[in-house]
Symmetry: D2
Subunit: 234 residues, 4 copies
């Protein structure tokens, strides 16, 4: 399975983020994903075609995106290309502030707005313990400091809500949600502010690894069109 981990390098002016992720958020994630079953490459907004050439996307089984300042910076034709590949089978894991990434918003068709506040203790709960993404994950675990995301979350009704987030200021959030868009499987996962340590947490790593396996397509590069259909019955 080929996984591409992409971020927008928008945290490079944040020393605490650079300390947390010396080789970028994309490599922090790639490091824990690599194993015999999963071949991981990384890309960044400043790459050719933002990292999303047709050749790369054809080969990619699952795309993981993390973005913040760069959410609006992928040109529309490239957003369209990535979107087409997701509809055609490529899985998508959208992390944290990429709820506002043009790719994720195009798939949702909604505003994807939410409430927020920095540096809040979070406690995650697995509410669908039987889901593949929840296997080997603790029923509940805490993150000492995260960026609180609060409801209402401007998404369409998810297929399933897998994780709920409790925040110390009294807030709650649908922190892990699945969606299907034709042949593409999508998992949105809230934790992961750039200078917090979520991606070093064992449970978080397990969730993202499980999500990659869950989102891996059975069929890829499916072309969607509107054919004339001849009658099969009289």
């Amino acid at each position: 399975m080929k996984v591409l981990v992409w971020d927008d390098d928008s945290y490079l002016n944040n020393p605490a983020a650079i300390d947390m992720h010396p080789n970028g958020i994309r490599n922090t994630i790639a490091n824990f994903l690599k194993c015999d079953d999963i071949e991981v490459t990384t890309a960044v907004l400043s790459d050719e075609d933002c990292g999303f050439t047709e050749e790369v996307l054809r080969e990619t089984d699952v795309l993981i995106i993390w973005s913040h300042g760069g959410n609006e910076k992928i040109p529309d034709p490239i957003v369209e290309r990535v979107w087409t590949h997701i509809l055609g089978g490529m899985g998508l894991i959208a992390l944290h502030s990429s709820h506002f990434n043009k790719i994720f918003r195009k798939l949702m068709g909604t505003s994807c707005t939410l409430k927020w506040r920095m540096n809040v203790k979070e406690r995650l709960w697995t509410i669908a313990p039987n889901h593949p993404i929840a296997q080997g994950v603790d029923e509940t675990f805490a993150l000492e400091a995260e960026e609180m995301y609060g409801e209402p979350f401007g998404i369409p009704n998810p297929d399933e809500v897998l994780f709920l987030g409790w925040f110390a200021g009294g807030e709650v959030f649908r922190s892990g949600c699945t969606f299907t868009r034709e042949n593409g499987k999508i998992f949105y996962f809230q934790p992961g502010h750039e200078d917090n340590a979520a991606y070093y947490n064992e449970n978080i790593q397990k969730i993202i690894k499980n999500a990659v396996k869950w989102a891996c397509p059975l069929r890829k590069n499916i072309v969607l069109d509107c054919p004339l259909q001849e009658p099969l019955e009289q």
Copy 2:
């Protein structure tokens, strides 16, 4: 619209509950529901047929149930009768510990299990502000002391989750959920432990009143069967 508010009188040995509800939980609720549009009657487990005679059910548009110790005490044929009326159009509002009432469990087809702890501060959030049940309800409001219910909640995937509950011990819960079972609309609502004050809270009252209007059937007493269907096309 005719609403029947039913409880099981299982709190009569709890002085704090009797103080909170001098005429029973059913009358606490009936008192805030009564208005020009809504004609409210009450019933209790010890009534004839547990309060669920065929004549009463035929006339009832929406049934509200609160039960705890009496959850298992309605005989199966009467559970079946109430269930048939719900499938036939009667709306159901299932409150708090009635998640374990045989009527609610029969409609869900699952265990309806959950975690619990008494006397916990709760904060409710409206996550579907556009839903009819959420109209005129604050985006968020607190209940100083409630019985915490925690995930996972053993229900099938609801049609919609309208309210999430945050609890001071770190717990979260899908506190307000809608379900459809054929012609019957169902709203499960978590707050309402017998010696807590939830049913005197303005937002809680608004939610239950809105839920009654939402659950009111367009058609009632629909008979469901398996007819032989003659061909309409050659």
Copy 3:
């Protein structure tokens, strides 16, 4: 309630369509919608801002769209404006070939592809007889000639499928589906090829009229944003 019926005039070179709709499809529909409760206006692609000025959209409760050749012709900024109003509360009824209208596709986030063939007998079935949109509609009724639409239909999982279409060539389709996008309620309805008579059929008229009432917003012009949320609990 204010309803705006819009089409793209793309059938003006089709004499059979002009015979069927002497004042345009939009007026065929407006004529059966007008009543004491519903104030109906019409607009067309060639109007100022394609008919979708900010002032018009602010006032509109439900927008009905029919388009075919003009599906791709609304400029993106105007699509964005209409989309924003739908997320903010305006209801949308998307008819027939407008499955490919940029507005509908933006809300779906998918390709909206399907199979097709002209002049096929269709039989519609009401599979959710309790839904408001199905009230007063026959359980099943036929359209002597329609444009067959066939599965798979490239949409996300609808909230509900209300009507299924049977076609004489052996095809089936999810002919009536509901979706929610934040504050906006959406109904997609398949019948209505430009030179067929669907919009003169009593059942079809009832469905569209019910859909307009169902989609009418409780709240309108809601602004969606990402506010900083101060803690409410310690």
Copy 4:
């Protein structure tokens, strides 16, 4: 993976059914399921505990049921036992007339009613081609003679509709639906009247084999209860 194929032998007085299934429907199905990955056993209503002893259920990964005349004949305590195992992880494939089996109805919580007529040509369509159950299945295929099942089908909203059925008399049906009930995955599949040849059709066999693999639990024999939860946060 251990699969148990169960039927109720209710067709033994139907010579055409005996011709079609010389060793019973359960063995017709077992014969095409057996392979290196899948160990198949069979059971029948007349067995000890109707074939559903605690020991057998503990070992079973996926249960396939076919029943007609015996739909109401499993005693309630045994229905409860099977149901508990499904909630605890065992997968369920419910075939054809078992829509009325007490086990399936208990999981649905609805009447499961439908329309019917014998000996109708059916054409199935795969509407979710990306689903694991649809892999290697033709987009559409016909069954020369089946028992028509028609809408409305008295089920709760399925998680997903995978297959739609077209019938020569003008009827349509949600012929393949998935449901989740806590740890149990359920697939309902309409074809399979006792004297028709559906279970000898390659596509039907592929669907049932895929469904067994899809329904195979990740975790089994999970006990569901209501524990007191101590606070994890102050």
